[in-house]
């Protein structure tokens, strides 16, 4: 017999993870009080298109909704949008809100995500942008016109996707990365090199092995970026895409264990009736034992579902969260798909296709075990190798059969 479920569940954060929790709870038959608090004024919307279809202008913001209004309505939520949680009292079990008042709970899910990291002193400088929210994306999109000189600081997925879109809009794009190659730490030299080649072919200038130091401005408007090696890149606009920091400030003093995010156990439980899901959750991965935090769209949804299930399972019946992470990226005509983890692996083996064709599947292994698979323009074939990642299979000849 399961213990009775908590009478009142509050979820703070109304993006993919928070939505995953409330949908998961209702799908599993939870009929109790369910409050969803989100600081943005919008119904839950999707972020991956912000650096893809929304940024190109192909989609309007009306296409970003994760669910239709009717589907949200059907969840029977006490929905508090445009409302920021500012403090947590785990003794009285209350979330305090910026508008005054508080929401009581028996179980709480922290799904407050992460905020874009800025370069010091650049907030409020005209022409300097981050890309995290719908408003960010619309503001940045307005800068993209033929001839505008754009410096993209950071060459992770977000920076690389934005660079590709900006080239499509006719901007003169320079991408700055402290790594040797854009996405080199994720993809390794062969695929990273292929991707860098595609950017260069499309006219992106890549400045690698150095960092952006300061943004130069005149009358409050960005004019360039000074690199730590002293060089100056002239710019009309700057996109800062150097990662994100988990939104845990409101939990200070609450007793919820904080480090790089909310430090949960393997079941995503942080103690005192508090759970975490999505970009903000830091948990020991059952297979590796090391703590990780994942900022990917699929992880947010899966963790939301897992937390919903674990809350309802009751004490002692919660199960560890053991995902095969998945992420995709669109750049020019390329679609990259990654299952598992590629960072820090020691071997890359291309098992289908070839980099020169820009169609391939590559296995990433560490200590002879498959940890990740990367596909370029071969989505269905790539999925076929996911099982090897799930099993951390030996990278032997059978792996490529």
């Amino acid at each position: 017999m399961n213990a009775p479920p908590p009478a009142r569940i509050a979820v703070v954060g109304a993006s993919a993870a928070g939505l995953g929790v409330v949908e998961g709870l209702r799908r599993e038959g939870y009929a109790g009080g369910l409050t969803l608090i989100g600081d943005e004024p919008h119904l839950p919307y999707d972020r991956p298109p912000l650096s893809k279809q929304l940024l190109t202008g192909e989609w309007g913001s009306d296409r970003l909704g994760l669910r239709g209004a009717a589907a949200i309505e059907a969840l029977g939520l006490d929905l508090r949008l445009g409302t920021k949680a500012v403090a947590l009292d785990t003794r009285s079990r209350e979330v305090r809100l910026d508008r005054g008042g508080a929401v009581g709970y028996d179980a709480l899910v922290v799904a407050t995500g992460a905020a874009a990291r800025w370069l010091a002193g650049t907030r409020g400088v005209a022409g300097v942008h981050v890309l995290r929210t719908l408003e960010d994306a619309l503001g940045f999109r307005a800068e993209l016109r033929p001839g505008v000189r754009l410096v993209v600081v950071g060459a992770g997925f977000l920076g690389a996707e934005a660079a590709a879109v900006a080239r499509g809009a006719g901007a003169e794009v320079t991408m700055v990365t402290d790594a040797a190659l854009p996405l080199g730490d994720v993809l390794g030299p062969v695929l990273g090199g292929m991707l860098a080649g595609v950017h260069v072919e499309h006219g992106v200038r890549i400045v690698s092995g150095t960092r952006a130091g300061t943004v130069l401005a005149d009358h409050g408007r960005a004019t360039g970026v000074r690199l730590t090696d002293g060089r100056v890149l002239d710019a009309d606009a700057v996109l800062v895409a150097v990662g994100a920091v988990p939104n845990v400030g409101w939990l200070a003093g609450s007793g919820v264990p904080l480090g790089d995010g909310v430090e949960c156990d393997a079941t995503l439980y942080a103690g005192s009736g508090v759970w975490a899901a999505g970009d903000v959750a830091n948990w020991p991965h059952p297979r590796t034992g090391s703590r990780i935090r994942i900022e990917h769209r699929t992880n947010a949804a899966e963790q939301g579902i897992a937390v919903a299930r674990n809350i309802l399972a009751g004490p002692g019946r919660a199960v560890p969260f053991d995902p095969v992470p998945y992420v995709w990226s669109d750049q020019y005509g390329l679609r990259l798909q990654i299952y598992g983890r590629t960072r820090g692996t020691d071997t890359v083996r291309i098992v289908e296709g070839a980099p020169e064709d820009r169609k391939l599947v590559a296995l990433y292994a560490d200590g002879g075990r498959v940890r990740g698979v990367v596909g370029v323009n071969m989505p269905r074939a790539t999925r076929g190798y996911r099982a090897l990642v799930a099993e951390t299979a030996a990278l032997d000849e059978r792996s490529v059969a």
Binding site: D46, P48, G65, A301, I305, W328, Q337, M378, R380, R383
Partner: protein
């Protein structure tokens, strides 16, 4: 159960195929979702709802 797919949104993740392999597949060339069974039996409903929920592109809509 009514399943509608937004093929433009589909990113070829294949998460739906993993959740409900009897109902979804992917096209070979671009990985876009293929609906194998537009009117799946009741025992598939749970899998289909999960597929809709984990789809990273929110491309699957399920009613009721």
């Amino acid at each position: 159960m009514e399943i509608s797919l937004d093929f433009d949104k589909c990113c070829g993740a294949g998460q739906c195929v993993l959740a409900a392999p009897e109902v979804f597949d992917q096209r070979d060339d671009d990985g876009v979702v293929v609906l194998l069974d537009a009117d799946p039996p009741a025992e598939e409903y749970e899998n289909v709802r999960r597929a809709a929920q984990v789809c990273p592109a929110a491309a699957i809509d399920v009613r009721p």
